[in-house]
């Protein structure tokens, strides 16, 4: 194992408090000026209230394990009218939504809808496969999905020369972050793909394949592939610190034996009956016909919750769990690194700071022997 890749209990001993180490006051945690500085930096973004939107049912490729083409949402009748979307965005703003994630199936295929959304709601991200350029006047963050090298993409996504076409469209684009999705079958090639992207001036972050509920293919992770993924994440981050948006805590929570729901109790409506506060109150996942279903609402609908380690899910789930991370300086610092990373990945012009924590830290409430 690479030094630094073992999850250490550090002083937080996995967040244990009862009968264990010192119980920290929040004020004492914030007494460290580095922690205080990052805390003040990230808390300015607590106003972000997200919802997600499938802009269209259409896509120009078909990927093995695509969550969009699982479940009911793929069968709705899409609404391509930009005016309808503009009105929806205005209504969303009126109910307090400040940040939109435009996804499924391929938003770049409905450029007028993208433009209408941006005009009404300027903070957000478009999740795209990057094969079609999105006009420069759509100022959203763009997440370009990468699932391996070109040979792998040909096999898994049925598309030729994906990296070349993606980087042709988006190299040097300040909106773009390339999102490398680790599957059970593309871990070793991730190093070379990262080198390729960085050499072309691209920034990247990492995702972990999270299987749709009905998925029976070969991309689903095992414990061994999750650990190999963690090592690759760490090594690539070390190799390209200026280009990779990731932290040690990201690596831990997204490759843990427990999925995000089991680690943190997912607060999305699909798993959270409370409507009084937070995501349970405000989050909606709109389908391409502009309807939504509370019972299915999360950022990656139809994903198997037990297998969910998705980067978009974590960005909300881990971030929302500030309270349980504020138990000691190490764990809180790891959480701050995670939130700082999430903001850099999702918010245009937000600049990631150096991580506070070098070692890997176990999530709160996880017994040490279960940390990794």
């Amino acid at each position: 194992m690479i030094p630094g890749d073992a999850v250490t209990a550090a002083e937080n001993t996995c967040g244990a408090t009862a009968g264990g180490p010192r119980a920290w006051k929040f004020a004492d945690i914030l007494a460290d000026p580095r922690i205080r500085e990052k805390w003040e930096k990230v808390r300015r973004y607590f106003f972000l209230r997200e919802s997600t939107y499938d802009l269209t049912r259409r896509c120009n490729i078909r990927c093995d394990g695509c969550y969009f083409y699982a479940g009911e949402k793929q069968h709705v009748r899409g609404n391509p009218d930009p005016e309808a979307w503009r009105r929806l965005m205005q209504a969303e703003k009126a109910r307090g939504i400040t940040y939109v994630v435009l996804a499924g199936a391929e938003p770049a295929l409905v450029p007028d809808v993208c433009r209408a959304c941006y005009a009404a709601m300027p903070l957000g991200t478009i999740a795209t496969n990057g094969l079609e350029p999105i006009a420069a006047d759509v100022g959203y963050r763009l997440h370009i999905s990468v699932w391996g090298n070109d040979a792998t993409s040909r096999a898994v996504r049925g598309a030729e020369a994906m990296l070349e076409r993606q980087t042709e469209n988006y190299r040097g684009d300040p909106r773009a972050v390339f999102v490398y999705t680790f599957t059970a079958g593309n871990i070793e090639e991730s190093y070379a793909v990262a080198d390729y992207l960085v050499a072309r001036g691209c920034r990247l972050t990492f995702n972990v394949f999270s299987a749709p509920e009905t998925y029976t293919g070969s991309l689903r992770h095992s414990m061994a592939s999750l650990m190999a993924t963690r090592r690759a994440m760490r090594e690539i981050t070390r190799r390209h610190p200026a280009s990779v948006l990731f932290s040690g805590y990201n690596a831990v929570v997204h490759t843990h034996a427990l999925g995000l729901h089991d680690l943190f109790a997912c607060p999305y409506p699909r798993r959270n009956p409370s409507t009084s506060l937070g995501l349970g109150r405000s989050f909606r996942q709109y389908r391409a016909d502009l309807t939504w279903d509370r019972g299915a609402a999360c950022c990656v609908p139809d994903t198997d919750c037990a297998d969910c380690r998705h980067y978009a899910a974590g960005s909300a789930i881990v971030t929302a769990k500030m309270f349980r991370h504020a138990v000691d300086p190490t764990l809180f610092s790891a959480w701050l690194d995670y939130v700082d990373t999430y903001l850099a990945v999702w918010v245009t012009d937000y600049v990631k700071s150096p991580d506070l924590v070098e070692d890997l830290v176990a999530p709160p409430g996880v017994a040490r022997e279960g940390c990794n």
Binding site: F26, F46, G278, T319
Partner: protein
């Protein structure tokens, strides 16, 4: 000299922490309506409430339960929650 009940004192403290942490303007602890809905009328969210809870935890030496957040939607409810935990 006015003698405040423990509950009144806690209510003022909760309002004060909310004002400080959320940088609320044009309101003082004394003028903060204790029954105003913090979510609907002030616009606070779970992250704000977590921050306020952490600061109040420090002050009173009690432990908030994360599962109780949804119930803590007014200054009065938060104050009552603290008072209950203090046995006040």
């Amino acid at each position: 000299m006015t003698v405040m009940t423990p509950m009144a004192d806690i209510t003022l403290r909760v309002a004060s922490v909310l004002i400080d942490e959320l940088r609320l303007e044009d309101v003082t602890p004394e003028t903060f309506a204790p029954d105003m809905d913090l979510v609907d009328e002030v616009g606070i969210d779970s992250m704000d409430l977590a921050t306020v809870a952490l600061v109040l935890q420090d002050h009173y030496g009690i432990r908030f339960d994360e599962d109780d957040y949804p119930k803590l939607t007014t200054v009065r409810k938060i104050a009552a929650y603290i008072a209950e935990r203090l046995g006040a």
